[in-house]
């Protein structure tokens, strides 16, 4: 049963076995991907033909490692830039949202709150197509009425940024709101009494208090943007992000270069996750 109650040996053992199986299920695909990134073979499969770094550093015609693979490097750079702008936008608008829903009162607040939650329950594919259609309609309208050709309305970098921002901002709003709810508002009143105006109060006091939540949600926003596929698929132009680029390669057959990229992603995200956890633990202590 539970720790404090007696239970039979078979119960304990079978439970343990189940958990071991579960973790094997969880990690097997990731481990195999990582191991095969170092296999000295043209295909990401067994048998093991020896250890090599060539899928990272190689620069031979038949074996181009990731550090020399221009197409993949370009797509990583696109993803880095997209994620940067998505994080910047989501964190600023999400923090405004948190202040709006926690500290302000206005008519239709429940309606707006419901709208803010909506992106959570709209499938990413639908967000992608609706934004694609709307921007195209706007683009046609601008061109016909004002003879303006606005690049923003065509699939491409900025449309991807906007599409990802549209649902990541909800997440930031929720995380920052949760922290803002714990804020002791008498601190604000004290500052106001001492002659600060509202913006000084927000800048010097409330935002300082919100910092861990803002940094934490920025990290999650960055990662979500970096890995987004569904919404991006419909909005992407000629500059493919890393997930889109990988998808195209995986669909048309695979080489160990994909394993090498996956290895870097797995190691990178795990380190980011651990760092995030470490700092959030430190903050709560």
């Amino acid at each position: 049963m539970i720790r404090s109650l007696p239970y039979s040996k078979t119960y304990g053992l079978s439970f343990k076995l189940y958990i071991i199986l579960y973790f094997t299920f969880l990690f097997a695909p990731l481990l195999v991907t990582c191991v095969l990134a170092f296999n000295d073979s043209q295909f990401p499969s067994l048998p093991w033909k020896g250890f090599t770094f060539e899928w990272f550093t190689g620069n031979l015609p038949e074996r181009v490692g990731i550090f020399h693979d221009q197409i993949n490097l370009d797509s990583i750079w696109v993803s880095v830039r997209v994620a940067f702008f998505v994080t910047l936008l989501s964190v600023s608008v999400g923090t405004c949202g948190a202040f709006l829903f926690e500290q302000e009162d206005f008519r239709f607040k429940p309606v707006l709150y419901f709208l803010m939650l909506a992106p959570l329950v709209i499938p990413g594919v639908i967000l992608g197509i609706s934004i694609l259609m709307f921007s195209t309609v706007l683009g046609i309208h601008f061109e016909e009425t004002w003879k303006l050709d606005v690049g923003l309305f065509r699939p491409g970098f900025w449309l991807v940024v906007l599409g990802q921002f549209s649902f990541i901002a909800t997440l930031v709003t929720l995380v920052v709101s949760a922290r803002l709810r714990k804020f002791d508002r008498t601190l604000e009143e004290a500052a106001l009494n001492l002659g600060a105006n509202r913006f000084e109060v927000i800048w010097y006091i409330t935002l300082k208090f919100l910092r861990p939540a803002i940094l934490g949600s920025a990290a999650v926003a960055y990662l979500m943007s970096f890995e987004n596929f569904n919404t991006t698929l419909f909005l992407v132009g000629s500059e493919a992000t890393l997930p889109i680029n990988l998808y195209l390669q995986v669909r048309d057959g695979s080489t160990p270069v994909i394993n090498a990229i996956s290895f870097l992603l797995i190691v990178g995200t795990s380190l980011a996750a651990l760092a995030n956890l470490y700092f959030s633990r430190k903050e709560t202590q």
Binding site: T33, C96, L117
Partner: protein, 285 residues
């Protein structure tokens, strides 16, 4: 003071309104309008319900829709059955000092991009994959079999990708379950199943509902997993939407499909909340 509050409200509400109206509300209104427009014989656009009629007349469309819905329910159910013992073990059975470590281990794979995880399953299960290699070595098989591109693998992949969203709410809801309730039931002679169905599941209902809603929604809107490991005859409704948009370039038909998918996912969320008498606001928190 009063003036300043109004300025604060204005400052916070402007970016939020821009975000929600330009990226959520207007695009979805546009999606709805487009789904009721169609081209007549002379090439002009006109109002019609023919996009929706097409859906009901072509068995391939509505069969895919029903198939997607049924498989999503199945995936949600399987995810729940697999995740419940794991959450129970980590919160109630394992020694407290391993709790943090196991939770961390549980969350780690989900920081990694979905594409990498699906790719991992591909190199495990395909004809030249790692599984086949070992089965051949052990003499269980005498020629490799293709384990990818069927419905069972697709369900496996979908369960794997959405596991996190079931485990996390279950963990938090189990954490709040008072051990003494289980102890009392045990002392009064209840067996394991009675405790499971009369105490654990009723207590865990909020977590089960929020987990199920998210898993169902994400499975319904998934494109990567069915597309990469489901193969040609395992149709998924998001693939139909993609085909209408990108391959056939029939945006009006695609908009109708998109709206149907949005409708199904909203109904599921609404039903889940109604059945358990919860509000969306409570579930997301």
């Amino acid at each position: 003071m009063k003036r300043q509050t109004r300025w604060g409200l204005f400052l916070f509400i402007t970016p939020v309104l821009l975000w929600l109206f330009l990226l959520i509300v207007l695009p979805h209104i546009d999606l709805l309008i487009m789904s009721f427009r169609t081209e007549n014989d002379s090439g002009d656009m006109m109002w019609s319900v023919s996009n929706y009629l097409n859906f009901f007349h072509e068995p391939i469309y509505w069969l895919t829709f029903v198939r997607t819905a049924i498989y999503s329910v199945l995936v949600t159910l399987l995810t729940f059955i697999i995740a419940l013992p794991v959450a129970f073990y980590i919160t109630k059975v394992v020694a407290p000092r391993f709790q943090g470590f196991l939770t961390l281990l549980l969350l780690l794979p989900f920081w990694v991009s979905e594409l990498v995880r699906v790719y991992g399953w591909m190199i495990l299960l395909r004809e030249s994959g790692v599984f086949n290699h070992f089965l051949l070595k052990l003499g269980i098989l005498n020629k490799p079999i293709e384990m990818l591109y069927n419905d069972a693998t697709m369900v496996l992949g979908l369960v794997y990708t959405s596991m996190l969203f079931m485990v996390v709410p279950l963990l938090s809801v189990m954490e709040s379950l008072d051990n003494s309730l289980i102890e009392a039931a045990y002392d009064l002679g209840a067996n394991m199943w009675t405790i499971l169905f009369r105490i654990i599941i009723p207590h865990a209902t909020p977590g089960i509902v929020s987990g199920s809603i998210v898993v169902f929604m994400l499975t319904l809107g998934n494109y990567l997993t069915p597309n990469l490991i489901g193969g040609k005859n395992s149709l998924w409704f998001t693939e139909q939407i993609y085909n209408q948009f990108i391959a056939s370039f029939n945006w009006n038909q695609g908009a109708a499909f998109g709206f149907l998918l949005l409708f199904l996912s909203s109904i599921a969320v609404w039903l889940g909340l109604k059945l358990t008498k919860q509000s969306l606001r409570k579930v997301v928190q």
